[in-house]
């Protein structure tokens, strides 16, 4: 009896919400038909965190606007899928919130469409009230030193793409049949690489790392990885969470040279910001005098004050044999410390070199202004300079740095700019994707909708289930498209 009462009580509540959302839907539609309110239409290029956060902000803060999201690949989420390390599944939870956004009826996902090739930015500007570019930073910085082209030198980006299943990197197959690897650069990507290559393979097995990468890492002979920076311990760019993971990595010893840390304790007494202080304290704890760190047969270490000058070949000249470093000392230059050569140098043998000195954005379309030096689209709080109706967010806006919360705030800022401008503009109604679709059809582009993606998603998860991992990613674009069309 009580149960019955309860369900009677509950039903109207549920129904009322349901009906309410239905009603509001009708109201919007009527407005459009009668032309009382103009239908606003925006599009975002790139479906990584910046793209999705921009969409989220637009949809949430303007109840009229429709947003279409263009993505080069058939699968969404950009670096959340292809950049976040497989052993950081929690960071990927943000996909749930993005998926919720994508289920809005005012949202359309247009996957497998490459802006700049299949459709130009000028076409988009004709079809939309606002175009937001958030296509990220797909290129990586080069060292520009002799020997960089030798086999055995890889970009961090490519390796990350390889173990995360980025289609363009699926055939990379780096040769891990070496004992010593060197990562150039001391950012979080550098530590991600070192960690993935040194993590016991049984732990990786439970992640969404690609099967091919898992096999290669299981066969890996890598015994030690050095992460090298041109400046000192107080200038490292990685963050404490990633460092702690390295220090606590099972079966891996942390090797730090105590002489690098001379005088650091004195600096800690000064008033330095808490993040830097805690990071440095953990570094100190991990030196041989410190207490932190694991024992193991494999090791990793940080090397400081070294700039690579040349990548040295093996005796037969066929692949990487080592690196020639110039040693640096630090000199104050304004607010920062600059590395200047001491005149000394050092050779270090190694079989694998991973350069991780930053990503950079590429120009998308000759039509869009681009600052080649900074590798960003010149903009003012997200408004592309000199181009009304064109915006940017994420790494292409402010450069490849920061955590997901940074990108979130940055995308909200751009979203705000779009909404501010869009309400002030009085243009004729824009057709949006409907006017782009024929162009794509004539080029034979198979557009992947969000529903199509969920089909790909299901296939990946089913494959993962058999292997006891969250998903087994599909690496081939053609195969993705086959599953997309059901």
């Amino acid at each position: 009896m009580l149960g019955f009462q309860a369900s009677q009580r509950l039903r109207p509540l549920w129904l009322s919400t349901h009906l309410r959302s239905h009603n509001s839907r009708h109201v919007t539609r009527n407005c459009c038909f009668t032309g009382v309110r103009r239908k606003l239409h925006a599009c975002v290029v790139g479906s990584g965190p910046a793209g999705f956060y921009t969409v989220q902000h637009l949809l949430k803060n303007n109840k009229e606007i429709r947003v279409d999201l263009y993505e080069r690949l058939p699968v969404p989420f950009g670096l959340v899928r292809f950049g976040v390390a497989p052993d950081h599944p929690d960071v990927k939870n943000v996909i749930n919130s993005f998926t919720q956004t994508a289920h809005s009826e005012r949202f359309t996902f247009c996957g497998n469409v490459m802006v700049g090739r299949d459709v130009m930015v000028s076409d988009l500007q004709e079809a939309y009230d606002a175009v937001v570019l958030s296509y990220g930073a797909e290129d990586d910085q080069l060292l520009r030193i002799p020997g960089e082209q030798l086999p055995g030198v890889y970009s961090a980006r490519a390796i990350v793409g390889w173990y995360n299943g980025l289609p363009e990197n699926k055939d990379l197959m780096p040769d891990l049949n070496v004992e010593t690897a060197v990562v150039l650069g001391q950012g979080n990507v550098a530590l991600d690489l070192a960690r993935i290559l040194l993590t016991p393979v049984d732990l990786l097995r439970k992640t969404d790392i690609t099967g091919a990468a898992l096999d290669a890492i299981a066969e890996s002979k890598i015994k030690r990885i050095f992460v090298v920076g041109r400046r000192g311990p107080l200038q490292v760019a990685f963050t404490i969470k990633e460092l702690r993971e390295m220090v606590n990595l099972q079966g891996v010893r942390t090797v730090l040279n105590p002489s690098d840390f001379e005088g650091i304790e004195r600096v800690l007494l000064e008033n330095i910001p808490r993040p830097r202080r805690r990071l440095t304290e953990l570094l100190l704890k991990s030196t041989p005098q410190g207490s932190a760190g694991c024992v193991g047969h494999r090791e990793w270490g940080l090397l400081f004050h070294r700039s690579p000058v040349q990548i040295l070949p093996t005796a037969d000249g066929e692949r990487v044999g080592g690196i020639h470093f110039q040693l640096n000392k630090l000199e104050a230059s304004g607010d920062t410390m600059k590395a200047v050569p001491t005149g000394n140098s050092e050779d270090m043998p190694c079989g694998l070199v991973l350069r991780s000195i930053g990503y950079r954005s590429l120009p998308l379309d000759p039509d869009v202004p681009f600052d080649k030096r900074r590798g960003v689209i010149p903009n003012n709080r997200g408004r592309v300079e000199g181009r009304a109706g064109l915006y940017c967010s994420g790494w292409v806006k402010r450069g490849p740095q920061g955590v997901i919360a940074t990108t979130m705030n940055d995308s909200f800022e751009t979203g705000e700019a779009v909404l501010e401008d869009i309400s002030n503009r009085s243009a004729s109604p824009q057709a949006g994707f409907e006017s782009i679709r024929p162009k794509l059809a004539s080029r034979g582009v198979q557009v992947v909708s969000f529903g199509d993606w969920t089909r790909i998603d299901r296939v990946e998860q089913e494959r993962g289930l058999k292997l006891d991992k969250p998903r087994e990613k599909i690496l081939d674009v053609q195969e993705m498209l086959t599953h997309a069309s059901g």
Partner: protein, 196 residues
């Protein structure tokens, strides 16, 4: 059944007092007078999450619990005032033992992008500033929380992650602020940059 508290409910959620200078604001909390602190119009404004209503407005659930443990129940709900990024105060209520993140999520996500990692200590999107008194009264943040907080934009003395703030009876009426950080994005340029 609903009419039981309508007159009293009209003043709920309590209006914030003018001027937010004092950190813990004493306001006439009605949460302990009538349980649960909800009414239909607040439901439609999205302030009170659906699950609360389902759980607690149902007579068969509410009646016995009040009569059995009224003293304990007094403190089971707390009201929190969240100053959103736009500076607007939002009153929301949560159960003791719930995290602040949960309370915000249950309120239909009035704070955009809040809790991206869903409370797994893997992001900083649920970053809030607590009143000093509350910060000091709470248990110290764990090392893992501090590690994440160190990445937070606009880190301050009383910064905490919402997913680690567990509601206590004494938090009733507490004002927490969501950092508005779009302004200082540019100063961040050097923080996450990779150094070669």
């Amino acid at each position: 059944m609903i009419s039981l508290g309508q007159a009293t409910f009209q003043s709920w959620p309590p209006k914030p007092e003018a001027g937010c200078a004092s950190s813990i604001v004493k306001h006439p909390s009605l949460a302990h007078l009538i349980y649960p602190p909800t009414r239909l119009s607040s439901f439609s404004s999205g302030l009170v999450p659906l699950p609360h209503i389902l759980l607690n407005l149902t007579p068969w659930k509410r009646m016995p619990s009040i009569s059995l443990k009224s003293r304990e129940l007094k403190m089971r709900w707390v009201n929190i005032c969240l100053l959103n990024r736009d500076g607007k105060p939002l009153w929301m209520s949560g159960r003791v033992g719930e995290t602040l993140l949960n309370v915000v999520m249950n309120a239909n996500g009035p704070v955009e992008g809040y809790g991206a990692c869903e409370g797994t200590l893997a992001c900083t999107t649920c970053h809030v500033y607590l009143p000093t008194e509350a910060y000091e009264r709470m248990c110290q943040p764990t090392e893992d929380e501090l590690d994440m907080l160190d990445l937070a934009v606009g880190l301050a003395e009383t910064s905490r992650l919402g997913c680690q703030v567990v509601l206590k009876p004494w938090m009733d009426g507490m004002r927490v602020q969501v950092p508005k950080h779009t302004a200082d994005l540019r100063g961040l340029a050097d923080d996450g940059k990779m150094e070669g």
